[in-house]
Symmetry: D2
Subunit: 327 residues, 4 copies
Amino acid sequence: MPVPTHIFNPPFNIVRSSYVVFGVTDLARSRAFYADTLGLHVEDETKDAIYLRGVEERQHHSIILEKRGAATCDALGFKAASEDDIDKAAAWCKSKGIVHKFVERPYHGRTLHFTDPQGLPFELNFAMEKRENLLQKYVHYRGVHPQRLDHFNAFAPDVQGALDFYAALGFRLTEYAEEDGPNGRIAAGWMHRKGNVHDLAFTNGRGPRLHHIAYWVPTAMHIIHLCDLMSTTGYLANMERGPARHGISNAFFLYVRDPDGHRTEIYTSDYQTMDPDHEPIRWSLRDPRRQTLWGTPAPKSWFEEGTTFTGATLREPLFHANVIVAS
Amino acid sequence: MPVPTHIFNPPFNIVRSSYVVFGVTDLARSRAFYADTLGLHVEDETKDAIYLRGVEERQHHSIILEKRGAATCDALGFKAASEDDIDKAAAWCKSKGIVHKFVERPYHGRTLHFTDPQGLPFELNFAMEKRENLLQKYVHYRGVHPQRLDHFNAFAPDVQGALDFYAALGFRLTEYAEEDGPNGRIAAGWMHRKGNVHDLAFTNGRGPRLHHIAYWVPTAMHIIHLCDLMSTTGYLANMERGPARHGISNAFFLYVRDPDGHRTEIYTSDYQTMDPDHEPIRWSLRDPRRQTLWGTPAPKSWFEEGTTFTGATLREPLFHANVIVAS
Amino acid sequence: MPVPTHIFNPPFNIVRSSYVVFGVTDLARSRAFYADTLGLHVEDETKDAIYLRGVEERQHHSIILEKRGAATCDALGFKAASEDDIDKAAAWCKSKGIVHKFVERPYHGRTLHFTDPQGLPFELNFAMEKRENLLQKYVHYRGVHPQRLDHFNAFAPDVQGALDFYAALGFRLTEYAEEDGPNGRIAAGWMHRKGNVHDLAFTNGRGPRLHHIAYWVPTAMHIIHLCDLMSTTGYLANMERGPARHGISNAFFLYVRDPDGHRTEIYTSDYQTMDPDHEPIRWSLRDPRRQTLWGTPAPKSWFEEGTTFTGATLREPLFHANVIVAS
Amino acid sequence: MPVPTHIFNPPFNIVRSSYVVFGVTDLARSRAFYADTLGLHVEDETKDAIYLRGVEERQHHSIILEKRGAATCDALGFKAASEDDIDKAAAWCKSKGIVHKFVERPYHGRTLHFTDPQGLPFELNFAMEKRENLLQKYVHYRGVHPQRLDHFNAFAPDVQGALDFYAALGFRLTEYAEEDGPNGRIAAGWMHRKGNVHDLAFTNGRGPRLHHIAYWVPTAMHIIHLCDLMSTTGYLANMERGPARHGISNAFFLYVRDPDGHRTEIYTSDYQTMDPDHEPIRWSLRDPRRQTLWGTPAPKSWFEEGTTFTGATLREPLFHANVIVAS
């Protein structure tokens, strides 16, 4: 199947993945997880919401937790290159018949929300209140002190369609997993805007559903400490997979589940991809090292479970790959 | 069941675990594993044997590999405190009716060999040729550059008997796993002479068989590099368990199998135990964190497979613990 | 003094810093340094030149060493976004009266060379032969196994002029050191294209001269190993500064000098800067933490010595800052 | 000069270094340093004293801070092998005419205090209240979370005399620095009881004075974090030397000064020495790598400043070595 060709001059300019909006059922319990355990910085909180960011991030938040009756994900937020790009995006949505609206988010400037063809809630925002960089405020370092939000990974019922859609918005493929043979279908793809392995990835499966969000941390040592911390503070069951290394992206990773089941990857050590002639890496579905370079398989939950997007209609995948893929 | 009481003034003085003698079927293949991959230093070799040591070790070798028709372990070697202690040990064997003999080993001074009540081949040696410390010869660092042999772990059909036997030789218990309840039986025990968690450990099981030898390395980062190296140089199948952290001993570990199946643990981060009033830590067999603090279970092979000691008669364990134990 | 305002739509598109061309007096001696000690990969070599790259780099080389009678630097090479951008650059040079030419470099496509107003030899290249990614070829890891070329740092006689020139080419300021007071002059500035702290930095001083090139490595542990290795293999005198952490950029660094005196920084742990509204950090010249967060001052050589650019005419700086700056 | 010959059967049995008693002028300020910054665990405190321990230590404390009018050190405490050894020590003091007494220390069993021939206040204690091991209480990890007290280092006016005195008590030399030539004098020596490089070291200088106490930590990464933390929380001036690696002992170290000037070394990566035939390493005073393998010299304060022992009479050293030594 064709590797999607990205557009160098997309209809509007997206810089990177920027924030996620999670519905959670118990804010205090989520705060204990994200702030006290992972070590994200609580920038603001109300009785209905908590705003968190990583130590390097100067924007007000990269996670919004909102109190809800059930776990959900309202939006995957991306940074636009300018206010003008938001207008261009709205015009583009209109021209393509894509359902869209402007939504209000505290601490944000204008925020455009649209639903992509997979059903994924995509948001685009340029202006957000700024806060002081905490990178050298070492006294605040807690847990694994996530440094910055890096990417989103979603189940898509039509991976090829999803990759083609985002390639047309300037996202560029860096790695992909494919069936072998002349008619091999792409079962997963990793796409970036900001110049590393990904901002957004898709995996074949019932969807749209969020597989995980990911924060970058400096070293594997920090991730090992998080394992020690979580396993001795009542979060053993929240450690779903890892630590280990992906073949895809070369990431040293740990996957954890929050109290509502939302999945976060804590990872380090991928690579740069900003060259326009950077070529994507193909992995055969038959090569188990793409998922775990060191061999340990992922648990079943990791392949099957994900967060439902608010209001999205789930569809079964167009095909079932011989080998389950995700990473 | 009674925790064994060690003797402060044993009949002879053992300093620490010191060397192992492995029979291997293909010396070149073993050399590629131990020297080129793990990074042990080849101190000497002949067409029939290879002598290896860690970067901190000043004795000629801590592993002897001898060419054989089948995988086996001839001896677990310990360092005596003096030549005099070897004579005391021989006299003690005689007084106890323990089969013993003096054996020749190249580069060694006198070496006493006896068979313990479990059938384990125990050797005692004081004098060995010395070599230059390689700790600051950083140019020789390869693989995980094991720093020093740390301990042996064996399956024993009668763990209580094994622990009692070695307690009478001055080995001191640091941690143990026990069935719950008033008549709970000890299913595994860790004993030391040198002042850290162990020199010799026993696990309930068909035996005597060697479960593993272990080398200490400075940090988890080195172990992660070994995983990366082994998984990309044809040794993926030799990575049996880990990396992860044991609850018991707090060790961050990786278990690898050599081309003949001999198991080596590469580990870091245990603790000191030399205080005479240091008390052993009890773990319930019902507590899975004793094996892996982070929850990932060990594979079946790790519980079941081991190296046969040359000439030993295997016996089934005296009891089957409700929960398989080893660590 | 005014902080330079970068251009979002520059006359031609530069992706990142890409390669350096060093004249060295003894290729074998340089090979021992760059390949055997630092651990760069020798991709090709002739009797007159050596081509090296980092483990992540897919382009043929990021360092070219050419045999010469004296140490020199011929060019700082940057990656263009396309062949078309090279033509745009040539046209732009012509329109600005900037001396330029096309030069031949083995393994390269077209390469434009021009001299910037400071006298710095700037090269622009898009097409270079590609080689296999070595990131997961862990068996080749040696020394500090530099992962990728990250940036260049040069002495400039007119820092403000240099920053303004490159801002007009789309380079964006991320940090700068400035005299205090209403007329405080900028004494050093760090500018990027690729989305981290810098691709090119300038420090007030006699110039133009190259201060250093820099390679990114994953962790501080790798840099500590390089210190151990260099200090025990005859390269003690080549370790000029560090390891320590810069306040500016947050980099954990080590500066080393090659056998001809060319300086390389090995560093880790800076941060991302690709947001169009990312604001530069100002450091006062009076704050010593900008240079070394932990306080240890840099040696005099680090402030004074640099590599002469081939054919460049040295000029004294326009002013002498009260406090020597560089980082 | 003769390398001191240690006694294998000393008059009484010392296990290891165990605790220090510091007089400090402001308990709150010291608590902020030792507990909040270094990360030692406050086990108990009164208005006049604070008791601290490392995460691995099961004894009640390894540092006692007592409120005083001036900075001082009352005692260097060692663990005896038994109560009986304390009686043997008292009898030995009496037989040798060494001034001694029993002192009261909260949470201690009997504690013998004597003044050694250099004037150093030596204490011997076996029984101390025990507390729960915090090694796997990762939630308490703060700062560099020191794991265990490792050793003491003191200035002595007569290093040869000090080494001979402690050799007669069973301390064994592991490394020493000596003038070159047939009549070269020992200028510094490192001696152990517990099986690593040292429990007690002496450096030629005006004394007796305490040079430093030292805590062991698992990795260099933890020490780097401490540097980052101290340099950004008002403790920049308290970072006296490092991080770097000693040639002697191979320790990766950082020396910090508490608010009263008491010096603590935070270190990792020495080696084992428990073999009775372990031979000491000789360093020439002319070899600068013994102090810093990587070349950076120590500051003057590190060579000259130390803590006065309560009531001790200072003497000038017997000789002035050509090269200042200490490590």
